[in-house]
Symmetry: C2
Subunit: 638 residues, 2 copies
């Protein structure tokens, strides 16, 4: 097959590829990063590049105008090379990484009554062995096991070949005083079940040394990590970052499609492993620890995220009959997965329920305590995938819908995560249309986080800056409303360049508002259709628990005003923050939690919305502020 030269203006050197190679693939080979938020399906148009010389064949030019095509523009994910070509790559939208302290740091205390002796599976045990002699020629491993039996009361111990190779040296360099790091199996079937020896260190560790464990939530948009000292249970560092996979698809479906392409699965796996390893590094720097000091991790995330993280094909999740490869992952080690913890650290992925109700939701139910209460409770996890659980200690139903990443500050022009510099609340003067903002950290703003976007949208609606349909009123007499520069329709300026940290206007565009409307409509339609399908009217719901990475801070009134939350008395709402990472943290502390999450997972009945026409009707009706049917929102109608 003939080979062609592809020269990207942003690359150092040309690449050589056979006829028929996609431009996106050639870019990958050239080390050029081209965003593919739709996963390379040719739907979003955001991978457009300009062919300056040479011949290509466009399989699709969706979202490109005839003028664009005339100017040489082509979708990188849909265009194949047919001769030597030169390509101009326009500047790519950046998923900016903002290494700032999370707002919630230091607020999580260990659960009351935490008792590591009975609850914690990880143990650090000082041992003093009798040295061998001509009278006692017992082999090293038997000698060590005897000491472990005396110290733990357990009978069987697993050891890896790598540790066997080091064992004799450690025993002797510690002069037969050593410290053992042990982890019990996730489920002990009997007292003879072997306990795993993770590491053996020479000498006795000084007592104040923390015993580190990490709770990790892999969100479609945001990855969160909490580092806890397992002796006290206290969380010592909390960090979060955008999931670097977002460049290869904004929702799970786009990611699965991207993963099913040549090498896509491995690329996505590396992107999320890199994201987590960066977070491990950050968290360790804050507490002056080394990644290899972390001996245990629990992981949650939706089913697609867990599959991609482990490198397990996720395509069956997307295709009827929508099954996962597995919901309950066996215990693994950090080295197997590529996480930068102690190589033998236990990595326990919590069990999920179904393709679209993953470990993040079962962990969220655990964290919320919903499964343990008599009250009929609606639990909502507001994230890229809007999952909802309804029930109590007797019954549980659950559903999921694709909300997109808008509430996590992604897929919105000036969106950002809820860290320092994020506008988290907005008030607009009804007469002047001038906004007032509250910014996390009381510094100059950089962008808007999810709660800021909800607040802003509600204020714009209440003051008439946008109408019921989400259209910006361009007839208003204010410089804040203007025609956008970015081809995204009219926009409203929340902060002028001079007032911002980065010296650029902070705006919300018509496209942003459209994304927010779709997100809130999907979530609202999800829980209303699910409640209806099990015959539970919303009035019967005694409390609403809201999780999500911004969940702790949103203003109920404003969330009702935009129609994200149902119109109920405010005292029924409780905000729990990121319940997924909270559930992972509970499981990190309590060895029985994995079993309880399994039990929750097995009790939940999954309601499939994708097969339900009522969902689409409810979604369409909810694409308004607050809703087509104002009877559903009497407080807002007032």
């Amino acid at each position: 097959m003939p080979t062609h030269t592809v020269l990207f203006d942003a690359a150092n050197a040309p690449v050589h590829v056979p006829t028929g190679t996609l431009l996106s693939e050639a870019a990958r080979l050239a080390g050029i990063d081209i965003n593919q938020p739709c996963g390379g399906q040719g739907r979003c148009g955001r991978c457009a590049v300009q062919v300056t010389t040479g011949a290509v064949r466009r399989r699709s030019s969706l979202r490109l105008s005839p003028e664009d095509v005339a100017m040489g523009y082509a979708l990188a994910c849909q265009t194949v090379v047919e001769s030597n070509v030169a390509i101009h790559v326009p500047p790519q939208e950046k998923i900016e990484r903002r290494l700032t302290t999370d707002r919630t740091v230091g607020e999580v205390q260990a659960p009351p009554g935490y008792d590591p002796a009975t609850q914690q599976s990880l143990r650090r045990i000082p041992l003093t062995l009798k040295p061998p002699s001509m009278e006692d020629q017992t082999d090293d491993w038997s000698r060590l096991q005897t000491a472990l039996r005396q110290a733990t009361g357990r009978s069987e111990f697993d050891i890896s070949l790598g540790l066997l190779r080091r064992m004799g040296g450690v025993l002797r360099s510690g002069d037969w005083q050593v410290t053992a790091i042990l982890d019990a199996p996730p489920y002990d079937c009997c007292p003879d079940c072997p306990v795993r020896l993770i590491d053996l260190l020479p000498g006795h560790a000084p007592e104040p040394l923390p015993l580190w464990g990490a709770a990790i939530d892999i969100g479609t948009t945001t990855v969160s990590l909490w580092l806890a000292d397992l002796r006290s249970g206290e969380v010592k560092a909390q960090v979060a970052e955008y999931n670097q996979q977002i460049r290869r698809g904004e929702d799970v479906i786009s990611r699965i499609i991207f993963a099913s392409k040549n090498g896509g699965d491995e690329e996505l796996r590396m992107l999320v492993v890199d994201t987590i390893n960066d977070l491990i590094e950050q968290a360790c720097q804050r507490v002056q620890a080394q990644p290899a000091d972390i001996y245990r991790a629990t992981v949650t995330g939706n089913s697609t995220m867990i599959h991609l993280f482990l490198g397990i094909p996720a395509s069956s999740i997307r295709l009827s009959p929508f099954v996962t490869a597995l919901n309950d992952v066996p215990a693994l080690t950090a080295a197997e997965i590529g996480l930068n913890l102690h190589p033998a650290a236990t990595v326990d992925c919590l069990p999920g329920v179904a393709s679209y109700v993953g470990a993040d939701i079962s962990a969220g139910v655990l964290a919320s305590g919903l499964d343990d209460s008599e009250q009929v409770t609606l639990f909502m996890d507001v994230g890229t995938n809007g999952e909802t659980v309804l029930g109590n200690n007797e019954w549980l139903v659950t559903c999921a819908c694709s909300a997109g990443p808008a509430f996590e500050g992604a897929g919105v022009r000036d969106g950002m995560r809820a860290t320092k510099g994020a506008i988290e609340e907005v008030w607009i003067d009804g007469h002047t249309c001038e906004p007032t903002c509250r910014v996390i950290g009381n510094i100059k703003p950089r962008g808007l986080c999810g709660s800021g976007l909800i607040s802003l949208l509600a204020e714009m609606f209440i003051t008439g800056v946008v109408d019921k349909g989400g259209h910006i009123n361009t007839r208003l007499d204010t410089p804040r409303v203007r025609v956008g520069e970015h081809g995204a329709g009219p926009e409203y300026v929340i902060a002028w360049a001079a007032e911002t940290a980065h010296g650029q206007d902070i705006v919300i565009t018509h496209v942003d508002i459209d994304n927010l409307l779709r997100a809130k409509a999907a979530i609202y339609a999800g829980f209303t259709v699910m409640a209806e399908s099990v015959g539970v009217p919303l009035e019967m719901v005694e409390r609403v628990l809201i999780g999500g990475s911004f969940g702790k801070y949103i203003n109920v009134e404003k969330a009702i005003q935009i129609g994200l939350l149902p119109d109920m008395p405010w005292d029924k709402f409780h905000f729990l923050g990121n319940t997924s990472v909270l559930g992972a943290y509970r499981a990190l502390l309590d060895r029985s939690a994995h079993g309880r999450v399994q039990d929750i997972a097995s009790r939940m009945t999954y309601i499939e919305l994708s097969a339900d026409n009522r969902f689409y009707e409810a979604f369409t009706s909810a694409l308004f502020l607050p809703h087509t049917d104002l009877n559903k929102f009497p407080s807002v109608a007032g």
Copy 2:
């Protein structure tokens, strides 16, 4: 530090090393193989090389004459570089590999009553799964486990991350008909103990397909492998080769010393793994199988061999108080060790007893049935390490001595393994001193195997070609006795060049005879001192079981004539062949065997001979033909 150029005449290019580098290390870097049978201790003199230009410093010149040194000869393992040098490497003795069929092939039948259904832990199970549907969205792994539970009655299954990644594809490509390969854990502590899923293959395997397992004995000198079809238990291929480690030390002590040097441990590990992988390849070729079709292996060997094979430091075996890192190795996988079997194949190393009584001996006891009999039995494993066990079903004592590799045909000028072309029996005419030989395979001879050497030595002694002290009678009127060309004293020619397969004389030298005398004296001294130390006179011994790679074929009369075996009625002797690989084979077939070998290992009392002056006295007395004290050999004295 200054760097020097070292140019070996046998190398393609010079290497550059800092001042003080050993010539043996520089040779390794240059890819030149220099034999170090003593492990680089400067004792054997066989690594001598000639420095033709440049300056070196000799730490030791043991075994070199002043004339040798004047000519530039130096011990590579004891000489360091001090300037640019050029080195002549004399031709190295080859440990020749003879790829011939072993004499014993096809003689091993499955033990009577072998029942794979109850005894075999490895299972190949055809499964037919119900495909997923919108009515049954069970995840793949749960679906597979349900089928496995129904087929096996077990409840828990372990699966690796690698197999999880392939599982969904296999289930679908087999259209939900698959074949599972399962192995039970070496010890089930309870019915809930997980069974390991080794592999999953699409479709149902045709019934006649064999189910392969390998039994491997890692001897210091010889490595043996039997390939068995676990459905019937039959051995389908038997192969053996010299352990390639022999180039780096002829006995375990030399190997441990070599391993303790920079990179020596990894070099020895690779050499034995390569040896085994060659044997796997050979065995597979004979039966038209692929190495990846082998799902289970059992391994025996002395403790040093097992340590070096697993890359576990063995130095504590050599140093007081002589302890191993471990006697009982956890179950491992082929991939962890580097064996070319199915990567997930179970590799079960049988348990040993002590530093100098390893798994080869406990496996040998298992194979011999000694532990199960009321008769007081002497069990001897005649190999590089002469281990002996004495006892019955009530008591067991054991000891070990270093015999050297002579009885395995190594360390003897024209020695070879007991394969085609090996002289296995010799008769000498008392008048003419002309020999008659029996050759394995009835072809022209290439050398002498262990039984041939014993036979030859006995005949030489009986006919007066050698005297009681092992000295060749140079006054005999025969061209067969001559002064050797190899600096190894007088020699006796067994076959002239014209009669041999390789066109060279086959001889036995004075040095060869000395090695044989030391080997037989060590073994004889070992069992006599052990029997004495537990107060059991040899007369009380009701039977003598002899194992060893040649053991099945030696002539009792001749072995008594040279004083290797005690002078007892011939009907007390039974030859069992290689009992170590036989024990490994039994354990390959019977899942309960590992536990029984553990039991044997825990019952054996180890008698340490190295600390016993009586051993040295007995050894010295036994360095004669048949012995200094002819009263011990009345039949020979007659």
